[in-house]
């Protein structure tokens, strides 16, 4: 003890304390390495330097965007063995999209939900769906009374009506406001989009959304190769990565090219209407003028572009 003491009092490092220190350092390093061992299984195939350095969608030059599209297309092809037709589709001039949903017609068949999943390359496992259909008792539009998990051999049920909910593409979107890195924004045609390559995955937008429209990739999305929809665009349905947010974008890769959203096309009862709010002759504009439309949670001031209505001759009986 006393010898040790004297050694220690000398300035500098004694042999004994050096060995002790070295042993401690080696042990510490070994422990840290062991703790980090799970990282060996980390799939780095889609983490490239170019991807890391890629700039925000709005900041990319056309050349950079082309390069990014080519790189993403290659990654998709490598993983899913499908050559995607990946492109960037810009908003059309003089267009502001709106959606109107006829609650008298909807029969709750959830065909829209599945068409959306197929069109937009949503993860099948874990399951991600943009549209949620609520089975509501007649006489109320209180969503807390709605059943999300209704499972009937046949729909519709005479005592209920059905209310599909998806992103409302708000004109005053709380999700856009809260995003710390501007990874989500409102486009000129009113569609709220996400740059999946910019999102940091903080999920603040998901907490802010009053319509529960956003979905987070808690795990690596899984899509069977044969189910991939190769018709894709940068801001809409290209496959997403683990750890980023996604949501309905009014099928912008279709609608900006004059087609209709997948959920509308599949609807067997014609409950869904879509079009340009700025065009007075569009069906949506006519509905807004002639029907008693309403929006969900008007009091939160989000100004949705997604409207609901009942037929005027709707007296609680389905025809």
């Amino acid at each position: 003890m006393s010898a040790d003491t004297q050694q220690q009092q000398k300035p500098g490092v004694s042999r004994r304390s050096f060995f002790r220190g070295a042993l401690g350092a080696a042990g510490g390093m070994a422990a840290v390495t062991t703790a980090l061992k799970p990282l060996l299984e980390f799939d780095t195939s889609e983490y490239t330097l170019e991807g890391f350095l890629q700039r925000h969608y709005k900041e990319m030059t056309p050349e950079e965007l082309d390069a990014a599209l080519a790189r993403i297309a290659e990654a998709v092809e490598k993983r899913y063995e499908v050559r995607p037709e990946l492109r960037d589709v810009k908003p059309m001039d003089g267009v502001e999209f709106g959606y109107a949903l006829n609650l008298s017609r909807c029969i709750g068949c959830r065909k829209c939900v599945h068409a959306c999943v197929a069109e937009n390359n949503q993860s099948r496992s874990p399951e991600i769906q943009y549209i949620r259909v609520l089975e509501m008792p007649r006489g109320s539009i209180d969503m807390e009374k709605g059943d999300h998990a209704y499972d009937r051999p046949t729909v519709p049920d005479a005592d209920h009506f059905y209310m599909p909910v998806q992103c409302h593409q708000c004109a005053n979107p709380p999700c856009v406001k809260v995003c710390p890195v501007e990874a989500t924004w409102s486009e000129d045609d009113g569609i709220v989009v996400i740059d999946y390559d910019w999102c940091i995955g903080c999920r603040y937008c998901e907490a802010a959304c009053p319509y529960w429209a956003r979905r987070f990739n808690f795990a690596e999305p899984q899509i069977p190769k044969e189910d991939i929809n190769p018709d894709m665009s940068y801001l809409s349905n290209r496959p997403r990565q683990k750890g980023v947010m996604e949501k309905c974008h009014f099928c912008l890769h279709r609608t900006r090219e004059g087609k209709l959203p997948a959920c509308l096309e599949v609807c067997p009862v014609g409950a869904r209407k879509f079009g340009n709010l700025l065009d007075p002759k569009s069906e949506v504009s006519q509905i807004l003028r002639t029907k008693h439309v309403f929006v969900l949670k008007e009091e939160v001031g989000t100004l949705p572009r997604f409207f609901y209505y009942f037929d005027d001759d709707y007296h609680g009986e389905r025809k």
């Binding site: 709605g146 709380p174 406001k177 903080c202 808690f218």
Partner: protein, 419 residues
């Protein structure tokens, strides 16, 4: 500059020196921190699916702990104000311990936010497109990092001056202390704004949450500092005047009273009006549609806070034994209230009225424990370094040996010194 390097080197070395209790404590914390690191590595590989969070309850234990710790960091100001505003100079040296606690707490906060990110590799995006001043999260990034720098500067400067046996230059730290007072309030205010600004979550969308955040923080934080100071007094020869502890006790009493008063006001307003907005409150306090995972937590939390309050008002307030029990009770009570009582219920039911309960997984719990262990570890090291420096045992011209048995030859013998 070389001097400063040597100072850091000596600080690093001394943090490995201590008696068996110190080594056991640090080893235990290291093991827990490594378990947390291991759990986080798994989370990085498999994604946030390793947590109990879902699209319905999209924030959980990580954000809850983050919120609580912002309060702890802000609470340092409750020692700064008495000393620098009201001139209680006998407590001057203790301020450093509170500021160091703030540093450790902010480090933990930043870690908790980081582990909550889905894509932590993209954090640099914050520097490229920073949605300031629109997003409250960017405000939080600014105030938290600013507060961290302020406190690191103040503590680092004062400790280095003591090490150099130099009188601290007032202008080098005093203005920063004053700024830090306002800044401390701001970190917790901004963190509250994070929640109350969301119109789509009626449970959060209430102005009273902001003052309630501050009140609960100024109860839990000083209570934690009270316990820390007593531990320092017990394990080291550093002087901690009893008056300082009693002053903190008064602060805690007042803050806890205000906190519970605000809670009562909130509950009355919501339940008496009985509007549709109370779904989350009903779920939290009584359960809803057969779901009641949070009910035992919130009642435990309130029972703990009320018991602590009673101890502070009854004659038991004179016994340190009871006061310490009260401190532990209210710290745990407020921790529960921030997590199970504030963050999680806002997600249940979901905005579409769906009830999905949140149950943390073992993996995310380990990550939380790991961060806490890491935070306690760095705080222990801070204190371990600070005490010999402040008492003049470790200075630029004197090497400090704790393991030296002949310590008494160079220093007056003291009871329960670190050695």
């Amino acid at each position: 500059m070389r001097d400063y390097g040597r100072f850091l080197w000596r600080c690093a070395r001394i943090s490995f020196v201590g008696d068996w209790r110190y080594h056991t404590w640090m080893l235990t914390l290291s093991v827990i921190a490594l378990l947390g690191l291991n759990a986080y590595a798994k989370q990085l590989v498999d994604g946030l699916a390793t947590t109990g969070m879902t699209d319905q309850v999209s924030w959980g234990l990580y954000i809850a702990n983050f919120t609580f710790l912002v309060g702890m960091a802000a609470a340092a100001v409750m020692l700064v104000i008495p000393v620098y505003v009201y001139g209680k100079h006998e407590m001057h040296e203790l301020v450093v311990f509170a500021e160091l606690l703030a540093v450790a707490a902010i480090v933990m906060c930043l870690l908790f936010v980081t582990v909550d990110l889905g894509r932590p590799d993209r954090f640099l995006h914050l520097f490229q497109r920073f949605n300031f001043p629109i997003s409250m999260l960017t405000w939080d990034v600014v105030v938290l990092n600013g507060y961290l720098l302020l406190n690191m500067h103040i503590c680092g400067y004062l400790i280095y001056c003591a090490y150099k046996k130099r009188k601290p230059g007032k202008w080098f730290y005093y203005p920063f202390v004053i700024v830090a007072i306002g800044w401390a309030i701001s970190i917790h205010t901004v963190t509250a704004f994070l929640y109350v600004g969301l119109g789509g979550r009626p449970f959060w969308n209430s102005a009273i949450i902001v003052p309630k955040f501050l009140a609960s923080a100024f109860a839990a934080g000083p209570a934690f500092i009270m316990l820390t100071l007593q531990l320092i007094r017990y394990f080291t020869d550093h002087k901690v005047p009893q008056g300082a502890i009693r002053l903190l006790q008064n602060i805690v009493t007042v803050a806890l009273t205000i906190d519970l008063f605000l809670l009562g006001s909130e509950l009355f307003t919501e339940f008496y009006a009985d509007s549709h907005h109370i779904s989350s409150l009903v779920y939290l306090w009584f359960g809803k549609d057969g779901y009641h995972a949070l009910v035992p937590w919130i009642w435990t939390s309130v029972a703990m806070s009320v018991t602590a309050l009673l101890i502070f008002y009854l004659p038991t307030k004179r016994s340190m034994f009871f006061v310490n029990i009260a401190c532990v009770l209210l710290i745990v009570g407020i921790w529960i209230e921030k997590g199970m009582g504030l963050v999680i219920p806002a997600f249940v039911p979901s905005p579409l009225g769906e009830i999905v309960e949140y149950v943390p997984t073992l993996n995310e719990t380990l990550v939380c424990f790991g961060i806490w262990a890491f935070g306690l570890m760095i705080y222990t090291i801070f204190v371990r370094i600070t005490i010999p420096v402040l008492s003049g045992q470790l200075t630029h011209d004197r090497i400090y040996h704790t393991e030296v048995a002949t310590d008494s030859a160079t220093h007056p013998p003291t009871e329960g010194s670190l050695s």
